[in-house]
Symmetry: C2
């Protein structure tokens, strides 16, 4: 019998993962969904090799289980299904925060390995109908292993990440992940929604260019998902926003002062930082996180 990768939740990320994982080594890719309509769509569109509504049966057979549902649902699912995972198997996730998920995974029996995953890809859309096989092209794949996570499981996830098109695999701790993600991803979403709260938003048509679009693109977000992600990373996100407010205030003060020399100096400093960052960068996924 073929080995099985089970993907719980065939939304944007789970669906894309299921499409991208077809043909990976000798695994059969099985989706677990809650509605027949989703199952029908999955089979009609190559989203996985098979699909089922019977979660418990699928988990019992899974060698690898990806939990691709909302963060709060992941936390509940781990508790609800703790005794359904196959001993020796690997359970992982795709969630945009890691601390709360790793904490919830402590409910699992010792015989079940859990490694946190975060493939950094996505679009502003939701749902299986927006899933894409190339979603992860050029994306970073972040892993947060536990001290006793099996090297063979880590190696498996690394091979899997490369198979789906990720450009690199980054191992880190849940704390570091959440701290940095608060800045690189979550804060970008708070910026986008804050910009769109401006009373001038609807006056901008005819006056917007791609810097405006680039900044605000993610504002039409999945409200439930992002409420959970922000809430589960409240401390780090609040800290990142405090730093942003200070940095913005420094520019506001420079502007108000009328001192063009100061403004020029600040812009030169900031631009040089971005230039330096770019010197270290390589071409990356067009998909957001």
């Amino acid at each position: 019998m073929k080995k099985k990768i089970v993907i719980v939740g065939l939304g944007l990320i789970g669906g894309s993962l299921a499409m991208a994982l077809r043909g990976f080594e000798d695994y059969e890719v099985v989706g677990v969904v809650r509605r027949q309509a989703t199952a029908d769509y999955a089979m009609a569109h190559g989203v996985g090799d098979a699909v089922t509504l019977d979660a418990e049966e699928a988990l019992r057979q899974a060698d690898v289980t990806f939990l691709c549902i909302d963060p709060e649902d992941i936390i509940h699912y781990l508790a609800e299904h703790r005794d359904h995972f196959k001993p020796g198997s690997l359970v992982t996730d795709v969630c945009g925060i890691k601390g709360a998920v790793m904490a919830a995974a402590r409910v699992l029996p010792e015989t079940v390995d859990f490694i946190g995953s975060h493939p950094m890809a996505g679009t502003e859309f939701s749902g299986i109908e927006h899933a894409q096989a190339d979603m992860f092209q050029g994306a970073h794949y972040i892993l947060t292993p536990r001290p006793n996570s099996g090297e063979e499981h880590l190696a498996l996830l690394e091979r899997l990440a490369h198979h789906i098109g990720c450009r690199d695999v980054v191992r880190t701790t849940p704390e570091r992940h959440d701290d940095i993600i608060a800045y690189t991803s979550q804060m970008m979403h708070i910026i986008a929604v804050s910009v769109c709260d401006d009373r001038e938003l609807f006056e901008c048509q005819g006056f917007e260019g791609s810097s405006f679009r680039g900044c605000t693109r993610v504002a039409d977000l999945d409200v439930e998902l992002w409420t959970q992600l922000f809430s589960l990373n409240r401390r780090a996100l609040t800290a990142a926003l405090d730093r942003l407010a200070e940095n913005l205030d420094a520019y506001r003060a420079a502007l108000r002062s009328g001192d063009d020399g100061l403004l020029r100096e600040k812009l030169a400093h900031s631009a040089a930082r971005k230039h330096q960052l770019d010197l270290g960068a390589r071409p990356a996924s067009p998909y957001y996180v």
Copy 2:
């Protein structure tokens, strides 16, 4: 003798304009530059039909003059060359602020028409070597006419805008332009540099996705140009940043409060605004402003 469009300054925008305008109606496109090396590059790369270092001679023959130099330089140029423009001709610019330029244009004799232009396109690069003939594809072209600007000159600019690939021509006042641009463009640059001032910037490699890149792309900016643009629109930009600070503070307060219901509500409100905006949008230029 052919009619002439003279483009003063063959940098990123002037160079792109010169490339894009070749073949427009029955005009010869003549670049005016300060260095022989730029002139040589222009002729080797199809940046205009001809190029000269003799500004005064070119202006005397120009039916249309585009001033594609930094804002402060435009202001000085108008005064320095006020008596060199051909009577009956049109002078315009490409500058990202309009109030200061329209005020400076009052120095021109009555026989010379001035209409403010702002083709909303650009990239984070500078210089003739980054000029592109398709720079203006899908861009908005904003016009700020004077009360006595000739309809035939306005019509000419509209035809020209369409020739270079702009998707629409928007007529507005200098004040409205500057107010809205403060929000849609200038504020985006202040956000980008503020985000890059964060101490975590260099820790982000391996953790950034395209929302981060989309927000920070414009941070490696032309320092002199943007210092001038911000300085010449200080009041409106400061007002836009004050509004942003309030909107960010509202999200920060919702996060600190721990009230997920409030956070969810705010996100739903902001996302709905963006969704509504997108419903009115059409595909646009990939180039930023």
